[in-house]
């Protein structure tokens, strides 16, 4: 009757014993010798799990840095800057004893820093490089990714790129905005190299992204366990796969664009600079040809996490598996033909009309996913665990982020809202309310698997409510600010916007407290967490049913044999719905169950 496990007769996986049994049964976290040996082991590891953990640490550190910059931006905006008749400046936090103009410049460098760190160093690698690296081979029953050394190389390239970014920051940072729009970016700080270092950093980081993407595409194609057809893959794998395709296809474009930008700055070749016959809008086209698809590199992994969390914690087969899977691929495809909607105020009218029409197309597969997740909850068995709270929070915030895209996709309303706080609120609701909320939920979901420890549900839930309330309080007022005409990237503002800005700043502090609560939860869990069972949530995907918590070095004792889809929760016998115990009825010959 048991079919879920290929390795054990009763459906419960072996637990890789710590300190006993054979060497290959040892957890991947088991230290190999003294401190120096452990460091060397981690630094030279080709184990996708260790690389995933190293990425997680690096990425969360970058999230912290970008978050500090964000708080500095919000604090500056608590008051508008006033200069009285005598020249005394009030309301300017970042004024370091100099003129208000220098304060403005500091502000410009800090919001640029926030954007560059959050986009290039945090959110693009975030889910794929950390959770994706850790989980993808486990979920498809593989020992590792297809090219383990390339995987390690990608991590070192990421570090190398970060060094360039840090060099640039130490030299005073850049004030170009994360978009590097020409001709401003080719003119500013003309005597200095910091802009070149920063662009070089983004260029190098692109290779890290390509390495990861390439690895994942090949892994999904070639290393699935016997019996796992394309439509037996967990939806997390579909999401990461679609992401990887975009990374491989779009990232080279930004690489070339950034090189051209460096040449323009250093050798004045006249591609983007109008003084030499170049066209600054050409840069915008090149830039968004990458940077729009990359929006989906950021959000598709978020969708991927939500599909896993909702099915597991609602103990329910996903509603419309194929629709969710294909919508990821559709989004990845359409992502390449909507870049012009970032340029409704700068490109020609005909182009704007075409891009507006195409933009509304991408809304359909996105809406379909939200409907499918909602329908999955129907007649489920919903546990309000921290990951599930994050998934429910995600539905709320991501829906707002998605729906407000309609105001921006419509040409007439975009002419008003473009480059205002409405746009700032919109993309934070998608990026932070979508990807980051899903990412935090995902870390909690897979935390027991990654580190073999449970975390404090109580404190994690307190963290969730602080993050959820703080996030909405920070960004919802910004929709109103933008509607009332407040432009973005302003170091100060008219007095009439003060109340909403202050609300937003207070919200950002609540959000910060919430995020630190989660940091506390994680550290506490590592130090004093209860030992996690192999499958605390009662999930049915391979990383839970066939691997120990934490997994052994080679993931599985035996290559798993897959006989069903990813989410056959309806087929689990009612008597065995206790966590960690799942027995499936025998499959009907010739017919797969699960979707």
């Amino acid at each position: 009757m048991a079919t879920i496990s290929g390795s054990s007769g009763h459906g419960v996986p072996h637990h890789g014993g710590h300190g006993h049994g054979h060497d290959h049964d040892v957890s991947y976290l088991h230290p190999k010798g003294g401190f120096a040996a452990v460091v060397w082991d981690w630094m030279t590891t080709v184990d996708h799990k260790k690389i995933g953990v190293m990425y997680l640490v690096a990425i969360l550190f970058m999230f912290f840095l970008g978050g500090v910059a964000a708080l500095a931006v919000r604090m500056e905006l608590f008051y508008p800057t006033h200069v009285d008749a005598a020249g005394a400046v009030t309301g300017q936090l970042l004024n370091v004893g100099e003129t208000w103009a220098k304060g403005n410049e500091t502000y410009n460098r800090i919001f640029t820093l926030h954007g560059i760190i959050m986009v290039f160093l945090f959110i693009v690698p975030s889910v794929p490089a950390s959770l994706g690296n850790f989980l993808l081979p486990l979920m498809i029953g593989a020992k590792d990714v297809a090219f383990p050394r390339l995987n390690l190389a990608s991590w070192y390239v990421y570090l190398f790129g970060s060094v360039f970014a840090i060099v640039s920051i130490i030299q005073g940072g850049v004030d170009t905005g994360w978009t590097f729009y020409t001709p401003y970016s080719t003119m500013t700080d003309a005597q200095h190299w910091n802009v070149v270092w920063m662009i070089t950093a983004a260029f190098i980081l692109g290779f890290s992204s390509i390495f990861t993407g390439l690895n994942f595409v090949v892994t999904v194609h070639k290393l699935r366990a016997p019996g796992m057809g394309w439509f037996d893959m967990p939806l997390f794998v579909w999401g990461i796969y679609a992401t990887a395709i975009i990374q491989v296809l779009a990232t080279p474009v930004i690489g070339i664009t950034l090189l051209l930008l460096i040449f323009e700055r250093l050798f004045h070749i006249g591609i983007f600079d109008p003084r030499m016959g170049g066209d600054p809008v050409l840069f915008q086209h090149f830039f968004w040809f990458y940077s729009h698809p990359v929006v989906y590199v950021m959000i598709l992994p978020g969708f991927a996490i939500i599909s896993e969390v909702i099915t597991t914690h609602a103990r329910k087969n996903i509603f419309g598996y194929r629709a969710v899977a294909f919508s990821s691929i559709a989004i990845a495809g359409i992502a390449f033909i909507v870049w012009g909607h970032h340029m409704f105020t700068s490109q020609g009218e005909v182009a704007s009309v075409i891009f507006s029409a195409l933009t509304f197309l991408v809304a359909v597969p996105t809406a379909v996913k939200v409907f499918n997740w909602t329908a999955t909850l129907y007649k489920g068995s919903i546990a309000f665990t921290t990951p599930m709270l994050y998934a429910l929070g995600f539905l709320f915030t991501f829906s707002i982020g998605g729906l407000t895209g309609l105001f921006l996709g419509a040409l007439a309303t975009d002419l008003h809202l473009h480059d205002t706080y409405f746009v700032v609120a919109h993309f934070h609701y998608v990026m932070m309310g979508g990807t980051v909320i899903a990412f935090i939920g995902g870390i909690h979901h897979w935390w027991p698997k990654m580190f073999g420890k449970m975390y404090s549900e109580l404190w994690a839930k307190i963290g969730f409510f602080l993050v959820f309330i703080g996030f909405n309080m920070t960004f919802f007022p910004q929709f109103i600010l933008g509607t009332q005409g407040m432009p973005r990237r302003y170091a100060t503002y008219l007095d009439q916007y003060t109340f909403l800005h202050q609300l937003s700043t207070i919200g950002s502090l609540v959000l910060a407290v919430g995020l630190f609560t989660h940091l506390f939860v994680f550290v506490h869990s590592l130090v004093a967490g209860k030992k996690a069972p192999p499958n605390p949530w009662g999930s049915l995907t391979l990383e839970w049913t066939h691997a120990a918590s934490p997994p052994i070095e080679h993931n599985f004792h035996h290559e798993p044999l897959v006989t069903h889809g990813a989410y056959p929760y309806d087929d689990v016998l009612p008597a065995q719905t206790k966590p960690g115990e799942f027995i499936l009825p025998p499959p009907i010959p010739g017919k797969r169950s699960g979707h």
Partner: protein
């Protein structure tokens, strides 16, 4: 399309509570109001779909919450008619929103042939305007710097005067980087480029002062690059446009040009350093440069030539402590008579004793 001017009470009566919450004030142009109507339509579409979807999700989550001994119930894992319906219905709504947005967009950009044309030039960090008879902004066309509205720098913002109830077309270009000419009350903005002209038009309905912002990030004082759109009755506009602004007095002409040509964005008169050096006490001082030997500005000839060179070829000598930020002007932008005004104005700002500083 209805081009009549609604009266004030009529406009207020039309404003819904939701619109007041989001926008505070009605748009001041017909098409601005049209785009607000579209905004409110999308808003209600969003509210209804959000409440349905999230309401259902949370209702399901609560109704089917996990209870001991109660297993997951069986339910279909897909339903093709339902999935088709929830794909096609949103698509139809989006087709409608796209079409409305497209229609109003063309309306906002395509100006009627009889529109009053005002040329706008963006320059870091200042807007300047020229009417179709060649009149530039006059000394009176700037806000009182004492009237600090929260945008730092207590600088005087240019006031661009337009007639109420008449179509006004803005022809916009930039001298340096990309800016964006944004009139929130018209719900309209368009980017302003250094290598071409862009245009849109408005037909303001009610007289009053309205904000103009720069909406494309352009550097240090981006947030101070604002202006005022002053809507006046048509007769007053004609009178304003035709008023003489040539200033006989050289010093006063220079003071006016300091604002009108955007010098004020970088050069202060009170001795504080900004993006560029202050103009206070320049005459008689000895200048230190990063790329040239020092220069004693003690006699008229050296001083005149130095200012002339700084206007037309500013990077020949870069003052110590500053970057090569100053744009080069041409004789067409600042003519001889104007240059002399600027020189006289700077000279009037105080004289250091010879060899001082």
């Amino acid at each position: 399309m209805d081009h009549t001017m609604p009266t004030i009470p009529n406009v207020l009566a039309q404003q819904s509570w939701a619109h007041r919450l989001w926008f505070r004030e009605r748009a001041n142009t017909t098409f601005g109001q049209g785009s607000d109507d579209l905004y409110m339509f999308i808003f209600w579409v969003c509210v209804v779909s959000f409440v349905i979807v999230i309401g259902l999700a949370y209702y399901f989550a609560w109704k089917y919450r996990r209870r001991p001994g109660v297993p997951t119930q069986r339910s279909p894992s897909h339903n093709t008619p339902l999935e088709l319906a929830w794909s096609i219905v949103p698509l139809l709504i989006m087709v409608f929103i796209f079409f409305k947005g497209f229609h109003l967009y063309i309306n906002k950009l395509a100006a009627p042939g009889d529109a009053e044309v005002i040329r706008i030039t963006g320059q870091r960090w200042n807007w300047s305007a020229v009417y179709d008879n060649g009149r530039e902004l006059g000394p009176e066309d700037f806000t009182d710097p004492e009237n600090d509205r929260g945008l730092a720098g207590n600088k005087a913002s240019p006031i661009i005067t337009v007639p109420a109830g008449r179509p006004v077309k803005f022809m916009m270009t930039s001298t340096d980087v990309i800016h964006s000419f944004y009139i929130p009350s018209a719900r309209l903005k368009l980017d302003v480029f250094p290598n071409r002209y862009t245009s849109f038009w408005i037909q303001p309905m009610e007289v009053g002062d309205y904000e103009i912002f720069c909406a494309e990030y352009c550097g240090q004082d981006h947030s101070e690059m604002n202006a005022v759109l002053r809507v006046v009755p048509p007769a007053e506009f004609i009178e304003h446009k035709n008023s003489e602004i040539d200033i006989e007095d050289e010093v006063e002409r220079g003071r006016y040009l300091w604002r009108a040509k955007g010098c004020a964005a970088c050069h202060t008169l009170d001795g504080t350093a900004s993006t560029g050096p202050t103009w206070l006490g320049l005459y008689g001082a000895t200048r230190q440069f990063t790329n040239a030997p020092p220069l004693a500005l003690t006699d008229d000839e050296t001083f005149f030539n130095y200012i002339r060179e700084s206007v037309y070829d500013p990077n020949v000598r870069i003052v110590q402590g500053y970057g090569a930020q100053m744009p080069a002007y041409t004789g067409a932008q600042i003519d001889q008579r104007q240059l002399e005004g600027i020189i006289a104005f700077i000279k009037s700002l105080g004289q250091q004793p010879a060899g001082g500083q």
